[in-house]
């Protein structure tokens, strides 16, 4: 299978001050991230807040410049493309459809904007494509005449998906696309995304903190912790046999709708990860319940697991 996107050694640092006179600190938000997604695949990226998953999305979208690293899309070097070219390859769907749509434009104009920005489409062509994609995501022509405030959350997310797909990109980055929606609407949007991927041959990078959702949509899952991918595997293998203690804790903390099972003890302790203060050795060791002396001093290297998988842990 050919890769739709190949990311290698991607890294992004931020310099932050916590106060006017406080010393400057380095935050490594994304640290040496490497992965590839086959055409038509869905890579799920999971992790807690602050693990760098949204920074990774912004790097790939070109909204942030990487400190170092490369990304190839269909053989083209993504970070060297101009904006218009990149927009034809890769498009985002963000979490909050209330914040990501311009409240002063009609839905059909919002959806038309990526075509407008290219500057190569006639007005008639734009109208035709907008009408087509609105229908495809389940919005009536009448909805297109409305303002975003007149739509429900689910309808707004459909509009955001229409805007992402109107240029017929190869890759869609979904950053928590259903987190702001109710469960019944979430299921509608997930089903729509699945249909669109199948019918249009899209490739998704699907970022979510909801592991149940990721298991449902992803063909492969990467687990991020403090900027690094600490485990990656084909979805069924990862959920069946998580290797990294952090992945195990994440899976254990999913509350499935099974009455009587109680709330599990995930055993992560109270130490919250701080990206400005990454522990030496294995970055997970302060929260790890099986850590040994070696974990405190020696950072683990990625080790292959199965045909596709990898894990960064001395003990896995």
């Amino acid at each position: 299978m050919s890769a739709a996107i190949e990311v290698a050694n991607l890294r992004r640092e931020f310099r932050v001050r916590s106060g006017l006179l406080a010393p400057q600190r380095h935050v490594i938000a994304v640290d040496d991230v490497t992965f590839s997604v086959p055409a038509g695949g869905v890579l799920g990226i999971v992790g807690e807040s602050g693990c760098g998953k949204s920074t990774l999305a912004r790097l790939i979208l070109g909204l942030l410049a990487p400190t170092s690293g490369t990304a190839l899309v269909e053989g083209k070097r993504l970070f060297e493309l101009d904006r218009k070219e990149r927009a034809r390859l890769i498009q985002p769907v963000f979490q909050d459809p209330f914040a990501s749509l311009n409240p002063r434009r009609k839905v059909k104009d919002i959806v038309a904007l990526p075509l407008d920005a290219q500057g190569t489409f006639s007005a008639a062509e734009i109208d035709r494509r907008v009408a087509q994609i609105l229908e495809r995501v389940g919005l009536s022509a009448e909805m297109g005449e409305r303002m975003p405030a007149q739509l429900s959350g689910g309808q707004r997310q459909r509009a955001a998906i229409a805007r992402a797909l109107v240029l017929e990109p190869r890759i869609v980055i979904c950053d928590e696309p259903t987190s702001a929606l109710d469960v019944s609407v979430q299921a509608q949007i997930l089903n729509l995304l699945a249909d669109l991927r199948r019918d249009l041959g899209l490739t998704y990078i699907f970022i979510s903190h909801n592991l149940a959702v990721v298991e449902h949509v992803a063909s492969e899952v990467a687990v991020m912790y403090l900027g690094r991918i600490v485990e990656r595997n084909e979805t069924d293998a990862l959920f069946r046999e998580p290797r990294h203690p952090y992945t195990q804790a994440l899976l254990a903390s999913v509350l499935t709708p099974e009455p009587g099972r109680g709330v599990p003890d995930v055993g992560l302790g109270d130490a919250m990860p701080d990206p400005a203060n990454i522990p030496p050795g294995c970055r997970f060791h302060p929260r790890c319940r099986i850590a040994v002396e070696r974990c405190r001093v020696e950072p683990p290297l990625p080790m292959a697991r199965g045909a596709e998988g990898m894990v960064e842990c001395h003990l896995a």
Partner: protein, 326 residues
């Protein structure tokens, strides 16, 4: 068991909009009662009506609303203020917005006790340290002098919980207490609430949209839809034999880990929660329901479906043994 909080036929209106329409709810002493529903179904408004904290323009009425034998409807505001935060306290979804950013954690916590119990500041701070330890905050003395922005989200929510427990309440109303938190922290906070319930004999009214949380922590569940309590049942019964088409649909929308079929679509409910115009009659779910017929536009009965289980629908109870739709 006796009802600690007993609400019958609660109506809340904001101008011409009916937010809660005849909701009845009983929270028994020592139980965790979950109020579950989608956004806009009236679950938070119900809690705010109980606390008498409705936003300006909100009006509540009910046949009965009693808390530990006290009639809350006829209670003057000042008497209610003495109960609130004292015998009945509330925690909210986003702890950052419910803590005052300009005051230290210690002074905000201590105020609860000095205000309600007339305790001295030293006593109040001592109690704050004790409770922070109980809710799993490490180095509580140091935290007292910190401001909310210096704490992580999980720590802030623990501070909120500790603050809510300052006066030994009988009832804790928790409105989406873990929605803003990571799953790992969510599990820790829910475990904490469960242990506090055992330890303090606390009753908890937990408001959530997350059926996973409901399944794991609730003793009994009330499902709300469009301002009505549409199904009430003990937790195990609700999940094994949901009656109302809405409840059944809601349960099918949740992806179940380990039982995933990626080749099959998730169950979903078409459409969205409707806004209810004044004078609306009949079943509010009928526009989204596959079983809707003409009589659903009229009064619909509340039907019993076993012990302590009832629901609002024209359909008769289904066989309890019937397998769930995949």
């Amino acid at each position: 068991m006796s009802a600690l909080l007993d609400i019958e036929d609660l109506e809340v209106t904001f101008g011409r909009t009916a937010a809660v329409r005849g909701a009845s709810l009983r929270v028994e002493t020592g139980e965790t009662h979950c109020l579950v529903g989608e956004s806009g179904c009236g679950k938070s408004v119900t809690a705010l009506a109980v606390m008498n904290l409705l936003a300006r323009g909100g009006h509540r009425s009910a046949k009965r609303m009693s808390f530990a034998g006290t009639d809350l409807l006829s209670l003057p505001d000042r008497a209610m203020a003495r109960i609130r935060g004292n015998r009945m306290s509330m925690i909210f979804q986003e702890p950052m917005t419910s803590l005052n950013p300009a005051f230290t954690v210690g002074s905000q916590m201590a105020e609860v006790l000095t205000r309600h119990k007339g305790a001295s500041r030293a006593e109040a701070l001592e109690r704050s340290v004790e409770l922070m330890g109980r809710v799993g905050i490490t180095a509580p003395e140091m935290r007292l002098g910190q401001f909310p922005h210096q704490l992580s989200g999980g720590l802030r929510q623990r501070v909120m919980i500790a603050m809510a427990l300052m006066c030994d309440p009988q009832l804790l109303v928790a409105d989406e207490p873990t929605t803003a938190l990571d799953v790992t922290v969510q599990a820790q906070i829910l475990r904490l609430l469960a242990s506090l319930k055992r330890e303090f004999g606390l009753s908890i009214l937990l408001i959530t949209h997350d059926l996973g949380i409901v399944a794991r922590v609730a003793d009994r569940v009330s499902v709300m839809y469009a301002g009505e309590v549409v199904e009430r049942a003990p937790t195990a019964q609700l999940f094994s034999a949901p009656q109302r088409p809405y409840t059944r649909g809601l349960l099918s929308c949740v992806p179940a880990p380990g039982k995933v079929r990626r080749d099959r679509p998730l169950g979903s409910i078409p459409g969205t929660v409707p806004t209810i115009p004044p004078g609306f009659a009949g079943c509010a779910f009928r526009s989204r329901c596959a079983h809707a017929i003409a009589i659903c536009e009229h009064e619909i009965p509340r039907r019993p479906a076993g012990a302590a289980h009832d629901y609002l629908c024209r359909l008769m109870p289904r066989e309890l043994a019937e397998p769930q739709p995949a």
